[in-house]
């Protein structure tokens, strides 16, 4: 070849044969990453679902966190003369049969909902992620065993399981939380397992094995970053479920114990007097509906933007 190649003949100096454009600089690469992030943000903010969801969720968080400052009354303070009042200037959302201010109780009830949602969702997400990755990546017998476990847990309806447990232990927020966590682990685990299974046979996991990477390293560094995205979206959509489960159990008198305010107990108490004072049920239901909608919208918007398979073509 060397005799064929003579630069003097063609009159062109030797060209660096890297085959790469020299004009690409580090700042340009960073710029393109930033542009992509901006694009994602723009997509999110122009998506009406995403924006509505974001606003509703922000309001939920703010009102729960700042409840002590926002609430006009102590949630347990009795105003007996004004019991079962409708919305007035003094009690914007009316009062219950003991004369407690419904607005204050709703704000404080949001704290219970946030507590359950935050702890319930994050703990079950982490456990579900770990179990799911192990099931997907580990030996087949372990996978079958874990799947059996997940299916067993899932075969119990959450409410029925909670009823049975509470019948043994008595009503308690902790029990509700534990039930919520246990029953939602399988969902995360199944999503994580499926995602891990598809990754398991990809070239890059094989490449890691060929380099000598162990299971822990492969799972933490290479599987988890690719699995956690869908799980976070699932978590956003799971928040309203957890909030309604708590409200439902409290409504049935199995969750928080009186006099603690919770959206469920407000509904429960309102239900008893629905003919005389419908505002309580209405006032207790609206935040529940809005929070549920907010998180669902947020989750769907996130999925549309970050899950390319579902997001494309919209």
């Amino acid at each position: 070849m060397s005799e064929n190649r003579s630069e003097s003949e063609t009159g062109v100096p030797a060209v660096d044969a890297t085959g790469l454009p020299d004009h690409v600089t580090e700042s340009e690469i960073r710029e393109s990453a930033a542009r992509e992030r901006r694009e994602k943000l723009r997509m999110f903010l122009t998506n009406w679902q995403g924006l509505t969801g974001l606003i509703l969720v922000t309001v939920f968080f703010a009102s729960a966190i700042f409840a002590p400052w926002l609430a006009p009354y102590d949630p347990n303070a009795l105003d007996v003369p004004a019991r079962l009042s409708g919305p007035t200037l003094e009690h914007l959302a009316g009062t219950d049969q003991l004369g407690r201010d419904t607005l204050s109780r709703i704000l404080y009830g949001g704290r219970v909902a946030l507590y359950i949602a935050a702890i319930g969702v994050s703990v079950s997400l982490v456990i579900g992620l770990i179990l799911g990755m192990i099931a997907g990546f580990g030996p087949r017998w372990l996978d079958s065993l874990l799947l059996l476990l997940f299916d067993t847990v899932r075969s119990f309806p959450t409410i029925v399981l909670a009823l049975a447990t509470v019948a043994l232990t008595g009503p308690s927020l902790t029990v509700v939380l534990a039930i919520v966590i246990i029953t939602s682990i399988p969902q995360y685990a199944r999503v994580a397992r499926t995602a891990t299974l598809t990754l398991k046979n990809t070239d890059f996991i094989l490449a890691e094995r060929s380099l000598g990477a162990g299971m822990t390293r492969t799972l933490l560094h290479h599987v988890m970053p690719n699995v956690v995205g869908p799980l976070l979206i699932l978590a956003a959509m799971e928040v309203p479920v957890v909030v309604t489960v708590e409200a439902g159990l409290s409504f049935l008198g199995l969750g928080v114990t009186p006099p603690t305010a919770s959206w469920g107990t407000i509904l429960n108490e309102g239900y008893l007097v629905i003919r005389d004072a419908p505002w309580m049920v209405i006032a207790g239901g609206i935040p529940l509906i809005l929070t549920t909608l907010g998180f669902t919208f947020l989750g769907e918007a996130l999925r549309d933007i970050f899950d390319p398979r579902m997001g494309k073509g919209r």
Binding site: R5, T10, V12, A14, D16, V24, E39, G212, G313
Partner: protein, 687 residues
């Protein structure tokens, strides 16, 4: 159709000044600019170009099937009395499928998996309400017979997954031809197929074109295919037609420097075996930027100052021929251009001293003997219940092979020949059922991972799809330094190592902070090489190291690999089906068929005098990038049988032109010939 159309071809579809933009977040990409070429009636027109040249975009623009972010900026495509670019959606629907139809690259994804071929083909004829269903079915069966599908009246009721890859592509062609279109567009019709299938499809298209008097447009990056199949050729580069003409003019008297360079880079065209392959330096320009002058100027060996500022003239010769270059006409005309074909116009990249005499030592680095790998097909319980004796298939059968330090061994075979499994088994990623694998004398077969892990520093794998072999959320820096972390090498500065490796594979430093999906094919290959070399291994197993690379880039990667081998004394086991490439880089070849090595020997000898009929078929099966060396017949018919029904005798007997009764009855043993070559054939050629 008039018979004399052969003599004075009229234009069936006239593409003029077609321009297409894509709106992307990075800005407008001027994907096609001022595309002009005629498609002449009853000709096979090849559109050739590297990735990013816009060759497929032309097809989709003609069909009105461009992506949503595309915009046709101007031009016309005159088809009969219509302009396809201005036709309404309803008119286009009436044209697509009826008058213009398409054969897709991947028959796997372009056919409907849940419908039988009969049903799919009936659907294609939905515009013929006056034809009865029975008549339509008869037409479909006839067409399947025409494309060479055996038992068409039975197979028409099967689903796509019942068909093998080659059969599926034949069915795809049958579906495209069913409506009797005037124009058939084929988008990389053989890229998803093996060499022997490719030859069959080329001949099928040729025969059908003659028989049906159709006009065919083939889009491909494969020069061999274009030379073998086409009458007219359109060469595209970065969204422009830079040259067009009769196939002989293009291949024998290319006018544009890019066409010349492209031809010179094709390893199949380089007769003298050399370890340095020519390359076109540089990269396709960024089409979002303002463009001036000749689009090819930054990479052109003959670029002059004027090339960067002034648009070159379109030099026309006759109706079809055109080329766009300053060298051909005008004040910068060079009467000596183009030089004769045997003068190279592109160099072999950076000159490094030609290959030193390599220290091929007697002691093999890797020694595989009688290796057997089986895959379970039926679980033990089901086998018992159904009375199946044979629960396993042999993916690798009695394979013996060795690689010395500094040696390159090519492992060649079609898909399903077990070559990748063999590579993975050597790396202890697949369990073997018998035989032995020795690495530097140590038996490593089925070694527990804990004991094998230190050996992984000495062997590395390069994957077929480099992007797929990178963890998608890791930067290049993280990827190429990961081997150090895995093996607990802590006494090095990882950033310095990353830069050292990037420099070694000639990857500019800014790329270290990129992510895998932001790399081009060639760049990703470089990262793959860097990663494999991180810990200074002794053996590299490269699975299709040039798959998916353009010819101009493939030379760079192979040269890089050769340089590194000369420098570090690496042993390479190169797994490939690309014979033209392996001929230039391998010292020895092993040909695999259905899990068995059928022939093994020195590369030059195997190419010059193949002993096994399969080797001969493979060597002859490569389409030559020379329209004067077209093959009159298909060198090998049929397809690779399924592993599930491995023939009793010689695995190749069913397709072998010289097979006899003995071949079908007993498996030929491996025989070592006087010159050290080994083969497995009862009737070796020339013996």
């Amino acid at each position: 159709m008039p018979k004399d159309a052969q003599h004075a071809p009229e234009t069936l579809l006239d593409v003029r000044n077609l321009s297409v933009d894509f709106r992307t977040p990075r800005g407008r990409v001027k994907a096609l600019r001022d595309i002009t070429f005629p498609i002449r009636k009853n000709r096979i027109v090849g559109i050739v170009g590297e990735s990013g040249s816009g060759k497929s975009t032309v097809l989709w623009a003609l069909l009105g099937l461009l992506a949503k972010n595309a915009e046709v900026m101007g031009g016309e495509a005159r088809f009969g009395d219509r302009d396809l670019l201005k036709a309404s959606e309803a008119q286009l629907r009436a044209t697509r499928g009826e008058e213009i139809s398409v054969v897709f690259q991947d028959p796997m994804t372009s056919q409907i998996p849940v419908l039988t071929y009969g049903r799919q083909m009936l659907d294609i004829l939905y515009r013929r309400p006056d034809v009865s269903a029975a008549e339509k079915r008869r037409m479909a069966v006839d067409m399947l017979a025409k494309v060479g599908i055996p038992d068409p009246d039975k197979r028409i009721d099967q689903y796509p997954h019942h068909f093998s890859g080659g059969m599926r592509q034949r069915a795809g062609i049958a579906m495209a031809l069913l409506t009797g279109p005037q124009l058939l567009l084929a988008d990389e019709p053989t890229t998803a197929l093996d060499v022997t299938m490719e030859a069959q499809i080329i001949h099928l298209l040729q025969d059908l074109q003659k028989e049906l008097d159709a006009t065919v447009v083939v889009v491909s990056h494969n020069l061999g295919l274009i030379a073998e199949l086409c009458d007219d050729v359109v060469v595209m580069y970065a969204g422009e037609v830079i040259e067009a003409g009769d196939v002989r003019e293009i291949f024998h008297n290319a006018q544009h420097p890019y066409t010349r360079a492209l031809l010179e880079c094709d390893p199949a065209r380089i007769d003298d075996v050399s370890r340095k392959l020519p390359v076109i330096p540089g990269d396709i320009p960024d089409l979002t930027r303002a463009l001036s002058g000749c689009i090819y100027a930054p990479r052109c060996q003959r670029a002059m100052p004027v090339c960067r500022t002034e648009t070159p003239p379109d030099v026309r010769r006759g109706e079809m021929s055109q080329a766009r270059c300053h060298l051909l006409e005008g004040p910068h005309h060079d009467p000596d251009w183009p030089p004769p074909l045997d003068v190279m116009t592109v160099g072999a990249g950076e000159t490094s001293a030609s290959k030193p005499a390599r220290a091929v030592s007697d002691k093999p680095l890797l020694e595989v003997s009688d290796l057997n790998v089986q895959f379970e097909t039926v679980g033990p319980l089901r086998a018992r219940l159904k009375g199946i004796d044979q629960r396993h298939v042999d993916a690798v059968l009695d394979v013996s092979l060795s690689v010395a330090p500094g040696e390159t061994v090519g492992l060649v075979g079609e898909s399903g020949s077990g070559k990748t499994t063999l590579g993975r088994c050597v790396l202890n990623l697949v369990q073997a059922q018998g035989g032995s694998v020795r690495f530097e004398g140590q038996d490593t077969l089925n070694m527990p991972e804990g004991r094998f892990k230190p050996l992984r520093r000495d062997m590395a794998m390069m994957f077929q799809d480099p992007v797929g072999s990178f963890s998608p959320r890791k930067s290049v820096r993280a990827l190429i330094t990961e081997p150090f972390q895995i093996h607990g090498v802590t006494d090095v500065d990882l950033d310095a190592e990353a830069e050292r490796l990037a420099e070694m594979v000639r990857l500019p430093k800014p790329f270290l902070s990129r992510y895998p999906h932001e790399l081009s094919g060639g760049q990703a290959r470089r990262v793959g090489v860097a990663r494999a070399l991180a810990l200074n291994p002794k053996l590299i197993i490269a699975d299709e190291p040039t798959a998916g690379l353009d010819v101009s880039v493939q030379g760079e990667i192979l040269n890089l690999m050769a340089d590194l081998q000369a420098e570090h004394g690496l042993g390479y086991l190169i797994i490939t089906h690309n014979l033209p490439v392996v001929r230039h880089i391998a010292d020895r070849l092993a040909i695999m068929y259905l899990g068995r090595i059928v022939e093994e020997g020195r590369t030059d000898e195997v190419f010059a005098r193949p002993v096994h009929p399969y080797t001969k078929a493979l060597v002859e099966g490569v389409p030559q990038p020379d329209p004067d060396r077209r093959r009159a017949h298909v060198s090998i018919s049929g397809e690779v049988p399924s592993l599930l029904n491995r023939p009793k005798g010689c695995d190749f007997a069913g397709r072998c032109p010289i097979a006899q009764d003995r071949c079908r009855a007993e498996k030929p043993p491996h025989v070592t010939m006087a010159d050290g070559r080994r083969h497995a054939c009862h009737f070796p050629i020339g013996q």
